[in-house]
């Protein structure tokens, strides 16, 4: 296709939009609503994941050893745990460190240390604290560590881990379902608008075919129309969501910043939008083009 034909097609595409301005606006409106909702769900899933990641770093399992396990064996167990892919880090807690932690954690800690001034009651309680990359794999890891020779007991909080992964999965499934539905509705609407454009321009298309227009020449203005509607339908929600997210994130940080040990913090606006902008543009333009191509293939067979 020649450059001048590309410009001609672009002009014709914009003329089509202007001719059916009401329906074009309806299509842009539908994509906008769909993508605003998509944006909300995206924020929810991303931030829940972000907060869970923050909280996960606090969830750990403790590994205690049999009394007869020597230092070399303990070191081997540590290496075996570190080698697991779901493990983020392993921290060795000596009996003395354990006593110090106890003192700091409990009110009666000072009294306790006075009583046991000359001897450490946690003498055989050296342990590993294991942090996970993914708490959903905690059960698997616990089972593995329990099977290691020299391990006496593994302590973990199964409820917290299970609830976090379950919550994240449920949110993910609901959001995917709603987003797929919204995208399907938007594609259907675009397809109808392009179909209407083809009907209105049926005579012009027939003339073009009779004169010997190429398929690309006939289809290009409709592609421009679909692209423009999709692009606009993606840009508008971004303009709505950016200030909105920024204010909500600021409000939550100010009001609930100390809840959950300071872990209830949203992803910074810039960081989340850097990822969201290409996704939204891709979906918007994709909806526009898929709807258009679908209709053109169906209606403009030679």
């Amino acid at each position: 296709m020649k450059i001048r034909t590309i410009f001609y097609s672009i002009r014709q595409g914009f003329k089509n939009i202007r001719r059916h301005s009401f329906f074009s606006l309806a299509a842009v409106g539908t994509i906008t609503v769909s993508l605003v909702l998509f944006g909300f769900f995206y924020f929810v899933t991303q931030n829940v994941e972000y907060i869970i990641d923050n909280l996960q770093s606090e969830i750990a399992i403790s590994v205690f050893f049999n009394e007869d396990t020597d230092d070399e064996k303990i070191s081997d167990i540590g290496d075996a745990i570190k080698a697991r892919e779901e493990v983020m880090s392993v921290e060795y807690i000596s009996p003395d460190e354990a006593l110090e932690i106890y003192k700091k954690t409990y009110e009666q800690g000072e009294e306790f240390s006075e009583t046991f001034k000359d001897f450490n009651p946690l003498e055989n309680y050296d342990s590993y604290t294991v942090y996970l990359k993914d708490v959903s794999r905690q059960d698997e890891l616990v089972e593995y560590i329990e099977s290691l020779d020299g391990v006496r007991v593994v302590k973990s909080d199964k409820t917290v881990a299970k609830n976090f992964s379950l919550f994240n999965s449920v949110i993910g499934y609901i959001c995917t379902g709603i987003i797929v539905l919204l995208i399907a509705v938007a594609i259907f609407l675009i397809a109808n608008i392009i179909s209407m454009g083809i009907t209105v321009r049926a005579e012009e298309i027939e003339i073009m075919k009779n004169i010997g227009a190429t398929n690309a020449f006939i289809r290009a203005p409709f592609m421009v129309e679909g692209f423009t509607i999709g692009f606009t339908g993606a840009v508008v929600p971004l303009l709505i969501l950016y200030p909105l997210y920024s204010r909500v994130a600021e409000y939550v940080a100010g009001r609930y910043g100390k809840v959950l040990g300071g872990k209830l913090v949203f992803i910074p606006t810039h960081d989340i939008f850097i990822r969201l902008i290409p996704i939204m543009l891709g979906i918007g333009i994709g909806i526009g083009l898929i709807g258009t191509v679908f209709t053109l293939v169906r209606k403009l067979r030679r």
């Binding site: 296709m1 020649k2 001048r4 034909t5 001609y8 001719r19 005579e203 012009e204 027939e206 003339i207 073009m208 075919k209 009779n210 004169i211 010997g212 227009a213 190429t214 020449f217 030679r302």
Partner: protein
């Protein structure tokens, strides 16, 4: 026009007919043939009328000739090439060698006369410079130079048909197909259009006209192909509307 003249000369120099139908049949539905085993050929540079009553298959024949339809049986050759086998670029190239005029003009109502004619050139991706040269030239041939800025709605039926002829001519067709071009026009205007088509034919373009107009067919004494119930009833080199075998 010199490029067109040399293309036309090259086309006319070949020994194959401009169009040739060999045992062509066409059915829109199974066992409902609207064209039945029709064979004839049209030489380069000929002026041919296709006549017949409503439902005789004339318009279907024109659609077959311009390859809007494909025959259900038989072959149609353009300059020796089987049009029913044409696909993609070959079909596009074939259609660019045709000019088509319809009874209802088929003008674009949202564009002025100039843009309606220029549209045909834009479709085949001519440059603005070529369009600016060719469109006024063809508008002067059809006598509408002073109406280039008018909207089709502001023109009479005859003027609208002249615009349609100009649009069909602007791409320098080797064959001009006209489907009832005077069907919506009064007798005087019909004659103007027919004289215009005759002039175009005299310049070397093959012209095929489907018509109901007895007076014109009788007066012009051109080749007449008569269709009846989808069959070729008669084919007379120089004849009138009612001439039988």
């Amino acid at each position: 026009m010199s490029e067109y003249n040399s293309r036309l000369r090259q086309f006319r120099d070949g020994d194959k007919p401009a169009l040739e139908l060999v045992n062509v049949s066409m059915a829109y539905q199974k066992d409902m043939e609207v064209i039945k085993d029709v064979s004839f050929s049209i030489d380069k540079g000929e002026f041919v009328f296709i006549v017949g009553h409503t439902g005789s298959g004339k318009s279907t024949l024109i659609k077959l000739l311009m390859r809007s339809l494909r025959p259900t049986a038989g072959k149609i050759y353009f300059n020796g090439q089987d049009t029913s086998r044409m696909r993609g670029n070959n079909l596009i190239k074939f259609r660019r060698k045709l000019g088509v005029v319809f009874q209802d003009f088929k003008l674009l109502k949202d564009r002025n006369v100039y843009e309606n004619v220029a549209f045909a050139q834009r479709v085949i991706e001519k440059s603005n410079k070529e369009i600016a040269k060719n469109v006024p030239s063809v508008l002067s041939i059809v006598g509408l130079s002073d109406k280039y800025n008018a909207n089709p709605k502001e023109l009479s039926g005859g003027e609208q048909q002249r615009v349609a002829v100009a649009r069909a001519l602007v791409n320098n067709p080797l064959i001009l197909l006209a489907d009832e071009p005077t069907g919506n026009l009064d007798p005087k205007t019909s004659w103007e259009i027919m004289n215009l088509l005759d002039d175009i034919n005299k310049c070397g373009t093959t012209v095929i006209v489907v018509t109901h107009s007895e007076d014109i067919v009788n007066a012009m004494q051109k080749r007449v192909i008569r269709m009846e119930n989808g069959q070729l009833k008669s084919d007379v080199r120089k004849g009138g509307y009612d001439i039988e075998d």
